[in-house]
Amino acid sequence: MSKNKYLVEIPVGPQHPALHEPISLRLKVEGERVVQVDVVAGYNHRGVEWLAERKTFYQDLFLVARTCGICNAVHGASYVQAVEDLAGIEVPPRARYLRALVMELERIHSHILVLAVMAEVIGFESLFMLMMRDRERVMYLKELVTGNRVHADYMFIGGVRRDLPSEKIDKIKKNIDYIEERMKEYKKIWSEDPIILKRTQEVGVASKSQALAHSLVGPVARGSNVKSDIRYIDPYDAYDEIPFNVITRDEGDSWARMMVRIDEVFESISIIRYILEHLPSGPIIPWKNIKLAPRKFPKGEGIGRVEAPRGELLYHVFSDGSMKPYRVKIRTPSVLNIHNGVFMMLDQHIADIPVIFVSFDPCISCTERVTVIDLKTNEKKLIPWRKLVKEKPLG
């Protein structure tokens, strides 16, 4: 960079028409070219991990699901996996299949949502409206299976909270057929429409070696031909018995990431069909009644990891033998993808920044949970929200 050129800083967010969630990107631009990007997070901090230490294991079931609104069932599944690992509880086969069913429904609606949001960011509002309309069918199915269209609260330590009656299976099959038919049409649009191709192809390219070096996860990594899928690498629940393919593409651009998501929707639909046909009979929890679940868990620690719609999600639960967990550590995929994926935005035009950012499928509420960093003293420490408010009152 020569000395006679100016660098202009453009703040994108936290409230910005192109980004739908509260995160701030400080772009340093030279003309139209982005030279440096600083990610400023922290606008959505709620202290979930701190709160999880002050509630019982069963209350945490509902708290961790509220870390993220879109992938709440996978958060619950990961947490119960960690607690089961800690207590050595065996999950009945029917519950393992039902968990996989709900997580796949969630993957479908999450992928359709980000595809719709991407269409809106590109400026293709009619596609956004149509995709959101068809997403409602998936939300209905989730409501039918779990009892609520957004917050499933379906997972329970040792199994699931409610059974799937056989009359609901036909309804699911009927709606899944409709969604598959619609998604075929959308795949055609996404792979042929000139507006989408011009805006997303060869924008924000990450090669395989770059994706590995920056430890990207989920569809972002799979778009760069990295075969990273926890369902495949480290099968949990019923995924060791269900046949499925890991979708990868080798282009590595924003378009490839979106196409990976479209193909994963078809893969999820085939997984759901397999589950509904091969659903084993039997109990859904290891105890006679859900009321007989143990109140306390032994001393120790457990790990649960699942493939969330956005990538690898990890829970680490410590117990000191009481009713409350000693520590609940959450590592979400969006933390890695947002902060480490910034290198893709360099040397791009300003207009392409929202497209690249949305192609990561950023989930801000997942990103901001616990660490408060004191910038003045450069110390990283955990400060509870109430204490923070007491020490530094607003105004």
Binding site: Y58, G147, D153, P194, I195, K198, K291
Partner: protein, 151 residues
């Protein structure tokens, strides 16, 4: 990238070619809207929806397990001064409708419905409180005892 180049050669990836969704968008102009009006036509929830739930105080044994387990701290145990018994009162504004209380109740005193919680624009539905329940029960008892000797 190869696919893109092939398409470029075939003339598909041309900005001047017709948008694929245009026909569908025009056809949708003459169709009924997919959305529904919010207040007059409410969408019926699916079977098994976690809706408004209430306590059957006649069944309740005052164990306060629901108040202990509630993740949102929405259940408060209210003491009735005359009998010194404690009954749960649900704050529907705080309630997250997880149905943990329905699950843990040892005598299944909670009655469930698929009725949707009121939207924010309406006042929060407050079902029968323990004190109201006790008053109505007492008045019923007294009226029945008054009526029976006359017969």
């Amino acid at each position: 990238m190869e696919e893109a180049r092939k398409r470029e050669a075939a003339g598909v990836n041309n900005a001047l070619s017709l948008p694929k969704l245009l026909g569908k968008t025009l056809r949708n102009l003459f169709k009924k809207p997919s959305t529904v009006m919010a207040p007059p036509r409410e969408i019926k929830p699916a079977e098994g929806y976690r809706g408004i739930h209430r306590v059957n105080y006649d069944k309740c044994i005052s164990c306060s397990l629901c108040a202990i387990e509630c993740p949102a701290l929405a259940i408060k145990m209210v003491t009735i001064p005359e009998t010194k018994k404690r009954y749960p009162e649900i704050d529907y504004g705080k309630c997250i409708f997880c149905y943990r209380c329905v699950e843990v109740c040892p005598v299944n005193a909670y009655e469930v419905s698929i009725e949707k919680p009121a939207p924010e624009t309406k006042p929060v539905i407050v079902k029968e409180t323990p004190l109201e329940w006790y008053k109505s029960k007492k008045s019923q008892q007294t009226s029945s005892t008054q009526q029976s000797p006359q017969k």
